[in-house]
């Protein structure tokens, strides 16, 4: 699974980091989310799907 955050759509709601804290990190300057690597380990797929579903802006996309 590959995950991507659209930085133009993310508004820093931070719910992705609540869903999958190991994958989604929050920038110190504005709290907007980023990922260090787009590759998601298999054991975290469900959490990342939850993050997609909870993002209020629909900023996260996955490629399974």
């Amino acid at each position: 699974m590959q995950v991507r955050i659209d930085p133009d759509v993310c508004q820093g709601h931070t719910l992705c980091a609540l869903a999958a804290p190991g994958i989604f990190l929050l920038r110190h300057d504005d709290g907007h989310a980023y990922v260090e690597s787009p590759d998601v380990p298999a054991e975290l797929h469900d959490l990342v799907r939850k993050a997609v579903a909870t993002c209020p802006e629909g900023a996260i996309s996955i490629d399974e």
Partner: protein, 432 residues
């Protein structure tokens, strides 16, 4: 050609407060973008999907407020627009890119990492507020705690003397909960004017003897080589006080009310503190402390299949959208473990509540201390007073309760505030 769905709707009405779920579902089932003739006419956006789509278009939905008519004459984010306004209410009444300049300056104070630094102060203030009343077995959650803690915190964030919270607290709350039709409104307005004058004094003082905090950052900021305009800095201070004081207080009051009605759920939260994260999002969704915001359509357009005309007024009804059954299963119930939770309780798009991380941390800390110190609190039956008008902020004016008395643990509140003032600004500048 006119295919508008016209409804009889007013978020400031007593019906809106008294019959929220019914009104919410009625208007949405008629149309997620319905037209009401109140206050000169405006669209009410109540569908979760549509409101999300509209929030992605700040170029079509303007927040601008131009009461003097030098740009476009737009009426800003309040519906109805306040009478007698002469300037806009800070960056929430600006559009990108100017609005983003303000957020760029303020965001570093409000990121999740930045707000963590305030947690020890919030915790100690919450304990001190409870220490003040714990021997009596009685308190008013609003007056004795939930008004005080966010207000002192906001002073610290701005870089104001912490003891000044008393100057701004009551005027800021009264301005929100007093409807313009109230006989008390002229007094409330006069208080607010005095508050504005006080903010101007504070701004002048900060130019010569700056304290660390948001005001100094706003004064030092440069945009395209020029400093921010004084009126917009003052508007921003009022915005940060309004946003910082009233919303977290409201959220806390609603949560305490619901946990009083649901003792089994209070027990559940006490037993499983990890629930607090999802519970907080759910309280924000369900109560939506800031119920919505006004916009002005900048040109004829179609969004999500709905046609809008240039100059139309729009109310982004986040409170209504948060009860959309298409987006939330059993939307009129609180489920402490609801997740995913795509709520719009902090707004959506570029105007997302800039203090959302601070609000979460403050709320969680206050609630944790309350449940720890007053685990058996019971609200006075019939004692709770909700705001007369919840169309702007869905809040409580009073929330009296009783509990088993206990012993104070720390210093009196006044000393705690003084000591934190010294910590933040040094001993000499803690007070003036």
């Amino acid at each position: 050609m006119d295919s508008r769905t016209v409804v009889n709707f007013d978020q400031h009405s007593t019906e809106y407060k008294a019959s929220f779920p019914e009104i919410s579902h009625d208007i949405r089932s008629r149309c997620p973008a319905a037209w009401t003739e109140r206050y000169g006419g405006y669209w009410v956006i109540s569908g979760r999907e549509l409101i999300g789509e509209m929030a992605k278009h700040p170029e079509l939905l303007s927040n601008d407020h131009d009461p003097m008519g030098v740009r476009n004459g737009y009426q800003g984010i309040a519906i109805p627009s306040p009478q007698g306004a002469t300037s806009r209410g800070g960056f929430i009444e600006m559009d990108p890119p100017d609005q983003l300049e303000y957020r760029r300056v303020l965001n570093p104070f409000l990121s999740p990492a930045a707000v963590e630094r305030w947690r020890p102060m919030i915790r100690e203030l919450s304990h001190a507020c409870i220490d003040e009343v714990i021997e009596t077995g009685r308190l008013d959650f609003v007056d004795d705690l939930a008004n005080i803690v966010p207000a002192v915190l906001t002073m610290g964030m701005l870089g104001f003397p912490l003891t000044d919270w008393v100057i701004y607290c009551e005027p800021a709350h009264a301005l929100v909960y007093t409807p313009p039709s109230s006989p008390d409104f002229p007094r409330v307005l006069a208080q607010a004017m005095q508050m504005g004058a006080r903010l101007a004094e504070e701004m002048e003082r900060a130019r010569t003897s700056p304290r660390p905090g948001m005001l100094t950052a706003l004064l030092e900021a440069q945009t395209a080589g020029s400093p921010f305009v004084d009126d917009d800095i003052l508007g921003t201070l009022s915005l940060l006080i309004g946003g910082g004081f009233d919303t977290t207080t409201s959220l806390t009051s609603h949560a305490l009310t619901w946990l009083d009605d649901h003792p089994d759920q209070r027990r559940r939260l006490l037993d499983d503190p990890e629930l607090l994260d999802t519970a907080t999002e759910e309280f924000v969704r369900f109560t939506t402390p800031a119920q919505g915001g006004g916009r002005t359509i900048t040109r004829d357009c179609e969004i999500g299949g709905h046609a809008f005309r240039s100059g139309d007024r729009v109310w982004m009804a986040y409170g209504l959208a948060n009860h959309d059954p298409e987006a939330f299963e059993r939307p009129d119930e609180i489920a402490l473990d609801r997740f995913p939770n795509r709520h719009a309780g902090f707004g959506l798009g570029v105007h997302r509540c800039i203090g959302s991380n601070l609000a979460r941390m403050t709320f969680k800390t206050m609630l944790t201390v309350i449940l720890e110190r007053l685990p058996d609190y019971r609200l006075d039956p019939g004692g709770a007073v909700r705001y007369e008008d919840i169309g702007t902020i869905n809040g409580y004016q009073h929330l009296p309760a009783t509990f088993s008395p206990g012993k104070p643990r720390g210093r009196p509140l006044e000393q705690v505030i003084d000591r934190w003032g010294s910590t933040l600004y040094g001993p000499s500048s803690a007070s003036r």
